[in-house]
Amino acid sequence: MAVRAKSINPVVIFGGSAALLFVALLTVGPLIALWMRADVSTRLSGSNWSAIRFTVFQATLSAIISISLAIPVARALARRQFRGRALLLTLLGAPFLLPVIVAVFGLLAVWGRSGFVSQLLIASGGERISIYGLTGVLLAHVFFNLPLVARLILQGWGQIPAEHFRLAAQLGMRPADVFRRLEWPMLRGILPGAFLLVFLLCTTSFAVALALGGGPKATTIELAIYQALRFEFDLGKAALLGLVQFSICAIVAFWSLRAAVNANFGGGLSGAVKHWDASSQVLLWQDRLVLLGVSAFLGAPLVAILIRGVPSLGNLPVTVWPAAVNSVLIALSSAALSVFLALSLAAMIDLLKSRDSRLSSTVEGFGMLTLAASPFVLGTGLFIVIHPVADPFALALPITALVNAAISLPLTLRALLPALQRQRLVYGKLADSLGMSSWVRFRVAIWPEIRRPLGFSTGLAAALSMGDLGVITLFAPPNVETLPLVMYRLMGAYRIEDAASVGLVLVSLTLTMFWIFDRGGRLGHQS
C-alpha cells in the first residue's frame, strides 16, 4: 500500500463540522425544544402504532417499486441515443418538483374516478377504476420518485468506463453477462442510497397519503404529528412521534449506507457510450416500450395540469407576482445554502473515507437525515426557540430558506458526493503528484467533474423550495405570501380554477428554474 502523503485539510474539516453541527441543530434541536415545552409525559396510542406500521410499509413498498421501474428506464436512457432524449431527461426532473397538491390533481385527471383512464374503460364497456387506498399512495409516490431514481441510476451508468462496454462487446458478452459483470456491480453501489432516499421521502409524505389514502387505514406518522400539534397540542407526543420517525429513518439510513458497496470504478471516458450488447431488435423494442411507457406515465398528468391551468391564466390575481418574487428569492437562497452545506459535508465525507470509512458513513447518514425530520416538528421547534428572543415574523423568509435548505440537503449531497469522490479517484493522485494548490485543483480537477451534478442539485434544491408550503405557514407575517400559500388560500376560497392557474405559474417557474440550473451545469461540457 502506498503511503498517502496528503495531509488533512483543516478548512475541509472545519467547514464539514460546521455543516454537520448545523444539520444536527436543525434535526435534533426542534425535538429537544418540543420536549422541554411538553408538560405531560405521553405514550403512543394504538392508532399511533398502526400509523407507524403503515408508514414503514408504504415507504418500503414505494421505494422498491420506484427502483424496480427506474432501472429499465435508466438503462434504456443510457444505451439509446434518440431525438427528444434531452426533453425526456427534463421531463424526468418534473414530477419530483411538483407541489404535492398540483401533482395530486394531475394524477387524478388521469387515474381518478372521472379521469382519463376511467373514461377510456367506460367507453370500452369496462368499469371505472378507483385508486384510493394503498394503490393511490403508491401510484403517487412512484410518480414522484421513479424519475428521480432513474436520473440517479443514469448517473451510475455514466460512471461505467466506456472501455468496459467495448471490452464486453469484443468478448462477446450476452446482455445477461453485461448486466452481471458491468451493470449489477454499479447498481449495488447506487441502489441502497436510492432506496434510502425514496424511503425517507415517502416516510415524511403527508398530503399524498391523506388525499389518496382513502381513509384512516392509510395514516402516516406525519399525520399523527400534525394531529398532536394542531388539535391536541400535545408537544410531548409530537416530539415522541418525531423521534420514532427519526429512529426508523436512521436505522434504514445506516443499514443502506452500509449495504452500499463502493463501486470503485476507474475514471473512464465521459459522454454517451454505445452499448453493443443491446443492439438486438428485441432489446431495441423493449427500450422503446419502456421509454414510451414512462413518458406517458409522467407526461399525462403534466399535460392535465397544463390543460387545467391555462383557461384562468388571464385573470390571475395580482398578488401572484409579489408572491412569485418571494418564492423565487427563498428558493435561490435556500438552494445556495443547500449546495454550500452539501459541498462542505461531501468534502469531509470524502476526506474521511480513506481514513475511517465508518465515521465517513456516519457523517453521510447524518447528512441524509434532515429528510426524516418532520416539517411540523421542525417549524414548531424553531418557533419555540425563536419566539422568546426575536420576532418570528421578521425572520420568516430567512427561516423558510434555512429550513428548505436543510430539507433538500440529502438530495444535493446524494448528487454531489459521488462526483467529488470520482474526481479524487481520477485526478487525486495526479493532482497530488503535481502539488496542485487547492484553488488550481478546484478549477482544474474538481470543477469540471462536479459542475454537472452541481447544476442538477442546485436546480433541485431551488425547485423543492419553490413548492414547499411547510414552515412559512407558521412564520408568515401578514402580507408576505409565497406562491403555494396563494394557491392554498385560493382553494380555501372556493377558487379552484384560479388555484389551478396559480399552480401552473408555480410549476412553470419551478421547472424553468430547475432547467436553467441543470442546463447551466451541462453547458460547455463536452458531449
Partner: protein, 236 residues
C-alpha cells in the same frame, strides 16, 4: 493476417481520418501527434467507431460492418482493461468464455497463461491490488487466450517506467511470435517503435499514411513527424 483499408474514411464532427493501404503479419507501430486519430484508427478496426465510407478487410473478408465480437481482433486499451470486481483469474478467463462457464481444462489453461506472462499465484487478487504493469499483463494474458489473429494495443504501457515498458514490449513481441499474429501498437514513443516494430504508420493531419520500415521513417522524418518529435532527429 492482412488488414486492408480500402479508401477508408472515418468522419466525425470536426474530425476525419483517411487511410488506403494494407498491412501484414508482424508488429506495426502507429505514431503521430496526439489528437491525430491513432486511437480512432484502432477503434474503427475493432468495430467501435462507425466507418463513413470505404472498406475494411481481414485477409479477403469484408468486415466493414461486422459486430466487434465477430472480428478477428483483440484491442487493449490504455486503462480500464479489467473489470474491478472480478479477480485476476476471472478477468483472464473472460478470454476463454464470456460467461465464465469453464471446463477443467479451461481452468488449467487460464492458470498456465497467467504464469506465462509472469503472474503466478495471483489468481484470486482483484485489479485494485495490482500494479499498473501487472494489470496490463492480465489483459495480455486474456488476449493470448482469445487467440485472435490481430492484436491491437492503444498506448498500453504509457504509464510505466522505461525498464518495465521494455519488459512489456518484449512480452508483446514474444506473444506475436508464438501466435504469428498481426500486431498494431499505438505509441507516442519512437523508442518503442524502434524496439519491436519493423514497420510504422504515421498518423497526422487526418491521414494514416502507408506503413514504412520504422528505421527509414525515423531517420528521414517528414515535416509533421519532425514537429511532433520536437526537431529531434531519430530516437534518443
Amino acid at each position: 493476417m492482412d488488414i486492408s483499408l480500402n479508401k477508408f474514411l472515418v468522419a466525425q464532427k470536426g474530425f476525419s481520418l483517411a487511410a488506403d493501404w494494407t498491412i501484414s503479419d508482424g508488429i506495426t507501430a502507429i505514431i503521430g501527434p496526439s489528437g491525430g486519430g491513432k486511437s480512432t484508427l484502432l477503434l474503427a478496426i475493432a468495430g467501435f467507431v462507425e466507418v463513413s465510407s470505404g472498406e475494411l478487410l481481414f485477409d479477403d473478408r469484408n468486415m466493414t460492418d461486422s459486430a466487434p465480437e465477430d472480428r478477428p481482433v483483440t484491442l487493449l486499451f490504455q486503462e480500464n482493461n479489467l473489470f474491478p470486481h472480478l479477480t485476476v483469474f476471472q478477468n483472464t478467463a473472460l478470454g476463454v468464455r464470456a460467461d465464465l462457464k469453464l471446463s477443467k481444462a479451461d481452468t488449467e489453461r487460464v492458470t498456465e497463461t497467467l504464469e506465462s506472462v509472469g503472474l503466478a499465484n495471483m489468481n484470486d487478487r482483484h485489479p485494485s491490488e495490482l500494479s499498473g504493469g501487472q494489470r496490463q499483463r492480465v489483459a495480455l494474458a486474456r488476449a493470448v487466450l482469445r487467440d485472435r489473429p490481430v492484436l491491437m494495443l492503444d498506448e498500453p504501457f504509457a504509464a510505466l517506467g522505461p525498464a518495465l515498458r521494455h519488459e512489456m514490449l518484449d512480452l508483446v513481441a514474444r506473444i506475436q511470435q508464438q501466435q504469428s499474429s498481426t500486431v498494431l501498437l499505438v505509441t507516442h514513443n519512437p523508442d518503442d517503435a524502434m524496439r519491436i516494430a519493423e514497420r510504422t504508420v504515421l498518423v497526422a493531419d487526418g491521414v494514416a499514411a502507408e506503413s514504412m520500415p520504422t528505421a527509414n521513417l525515423l531517420d528521414n522524418p517528414p515535416a509533421t513527424l519532425i514537429e511532433y518529435l520536437g526537431n529531434k532527429k531519430g530516437p534518443e
